[in-house]
């Protein structure tokens, strides 16, 4: 690991002031914020991230409570809450099972104790060519150098939302739940506080995949807000992996809906393990809304969700897998018994 200067922010004001050199979190940013450290320290050891200053945000972590507040307008989650604290919150499990699932099915118990929600949504891709600087071509790491994954080993690369500059996959699970549930964020920065819909946080590659979010220098996510609605209880996260635990998705689906008899209403679908950024399947939702949820309709919706997919050889299988995952997630959500307590995900 390269040498760096270690500083600790006492509060949010100091954090945003010290963060003037974070840029937008690119690999060559001079400063990086440290929260749980599970992405940052890993990528610094790999010599992918090379900050000369690390700004520890440990003092901003919620103390005395788990960072969860369930109110009538929805769920308020501190961005400094750990994944474990939120995953284990009884009210989250009861009223927002999709949120609890997405956190429980991610990483390992140790990592979930360390990682914060804010850091989680900002985690970097697991693309092996990004993570290994001995590969020269990576537009995300070295802008303009090309993409090694296109035309070579790309079994777990994205099939939605890519462009010729980058086919890396967004690796997170929680972000897929947030985009499905129309979450928004509170962000503190050098120019004050602003609110941002979560769907606007991650930006398309647009030939510049080194810029991953619309956060500006020194900006820190402080809170997530998940609006309440008749769809949050009948919600789940289905994650398909190469092994049954402690693994990234090769395909995942976040679903939330209200059910009236057989009719699905206000369906929300998020897709993970297959897209460049957290992905909302609006086309599929339009197919489903207001109609009886039959298998034929679910298949039609899944096909609509994957309409624009572009595969690259090793990841051809994802087009079919993703559709099956969507259909299964819809039927598992339909079959949920909202009166019975759920076992662990």
């Amino acid at each position: 690991m390269r040498p760096f200067e270690f500083t600790q922010a006492r509060d949010l004001v100091e954090a945003t002031r010290l963060g003037s050199r974070t840029g937008q979190g690119q690999t060559d940013a001079a400063a990086q914020f440290l929260a749980g450290g599970t992405t940052l320290i890993d990528l610094m050891k790999l010599d992918v991230l090379r900050p000369s200053t690390v700004i520890d945000l440990g003092a901003l972590r919620s103390s005395g409570n788990n960072g969860v507040s369930a109110r009538s307008d929805g769920l308020h989650l501190s961005a400094f809450a750990t994944m474990a604290a939120v995953a284990n919150d009884p009210e989250v499990g009861r009223s927002y099972p999709l949120i609890a699932d997405s956190l429980k099915l991610a990483a390992s118990p140790q990592l979930r104790n360390m990682a914060t929600l804010g850091g989680n949504v900002l985690q970097k891709t697991r693309c092996p060519f990004y993570r290994d600087p001995s590969w020269q071509a990576c537009n995300k790491r070295s802008p303009g150098s090309g993409c090694q994954a296109i035309g070579s080993f790309n079994r777990n690369h994205a099939i939605l939302g890519t462009d010729p500059s980058c086919i890396a996959q967004y690796p997170g699970d929680f972000g897929i739940a947030l985009i499905a549930l129309d979450a928004s964020m509170e962000i503190s920065g050098p120019h004050g506080v602003r609110r941002l819909p979560f769907r606007e946080l991650h930006v398309a590659p647009a030939a510049h995949p080194d810029i991953e979010t619309c956060l500006g220098a020194g900006e820190v996510i402080t809170e997530f807000h998940v609006p309440a609605g008749p769809w949050t209880q009948r919600s789940l996260y289905l994650k398909v992996r190469d092994r049954s635990s402690y693994e990234f998705a090769i395909s995942s689906c976040a679903v939330a809906m209200a059910l009236e008899g057989e009719t699905a209403r206000t369906v929300r679908l998020g897709l993970g393990g297959m897209a460049y950024r957290p992905w909302r399947a609006h086309e599929a939702e339009s197919v489903l809304n207001g109609k009886p949820l039959t298998e034929a309709l679910a298949r039609q919706a899944a096909a609509a969700a994957l309409e624009g997919a572009k595969t690259h050889g090793h990841n051809d299988y994802k087009r079919e897998l993703a559709q099956r995952v969507i259909v299964r997630a819809l039927f598992e959500a339909k079959a949920m018994n909202l009166d019975a307590p759920r076992s662990h995900a």
Binding site: E5, F6, T38, I41, A84, L111, S245, H344
Partner: protein, 194 residues
């Protein structure tokens, strides 16, 4: 004749091997002009406070092993993937290889050396691993034991399925998993009755 333990031998081996010509430096990278700024860090390990001046790059894992000579905590992958370095910080199991020592803010750390009672009697989890033969080479065992202690106290050891899920952050390349599950199950039951 004094008893020499395996640990004494292992911790003194580098110096012996080098015949006193040089003592191996801790694996924190060589000093450069820029890292001259050391960070004053207080680590509270197994109830004892240590005030150290550390290169900011030093992880809790390296601080434990190389500065405090507590070699029970193992370095496996050093990338947060294997769980061999699991310790408790502030009562929660975390990966010491991905935690900067300077960022622990004096939260109490418990390592495998801190589990036994004052008279040296083993923790129920340690006993269970021995009685159930929950290891082969033993390299992952300190991490498994620390993770199991937390898994039980979190209430995530209710069923075998739960144990497997909530112990999945600790890899065992010898494949002792069935006996690790049995050890966690035994310790869970014993800790309930004591």
């Amino acid at each position: 004749m004094p008893t020499i333990t395996r640990r004494d031998l292992l911790t003194s081996a580098p110096a012996l091997a080098l015949g006193g010509l040089a003592v191996a430096e801790p694996p924190t990278p060589a000093s450069t002009a820029r890292d001259s700024s050391r960070v004053s860090t207080r680590l509270i390990v197994n109830g004892k406070a240590h005030d150290l001046k550390l290169d900011p790059r030093t992880t809790v894992l390296d601080a434990l092993r190389e500065h405090l000579h507590l070699t029970g905590t193992k370095k496996g992958c050093d990338q947060g993937q294997c769980g061999a370095c699991t310790v408790l910080i502030g009562g929660e199991r975390v990966l010491s290889c991905l935690t900067l020592a300077a960022a622990t803010n004096a939260r109490p750390i418990v390592t495998v050396e801190g589990l036994a009672g004052p008279g040296g009697e083993l923790h129920p989890v340690q006993r269970a691993f021995i009685e159930q033969d929950g290891f082969q080479c033993g390299y992952c065992t300190p991490g498994q034991v620390m993770s199991a202690v937390a898994c039980i106290s979190e209430g995530h050891a209710t069923t075998d399925e739960d144990i497997r899920e909530y112990m999945s952050g600790n890899l065992c390349r010898c494949g002792a998993y069935p006996k690790i599950v049995a050890a966690v199950r035994q310790a869970r039951d014993q800790m309930k009755t004591t």
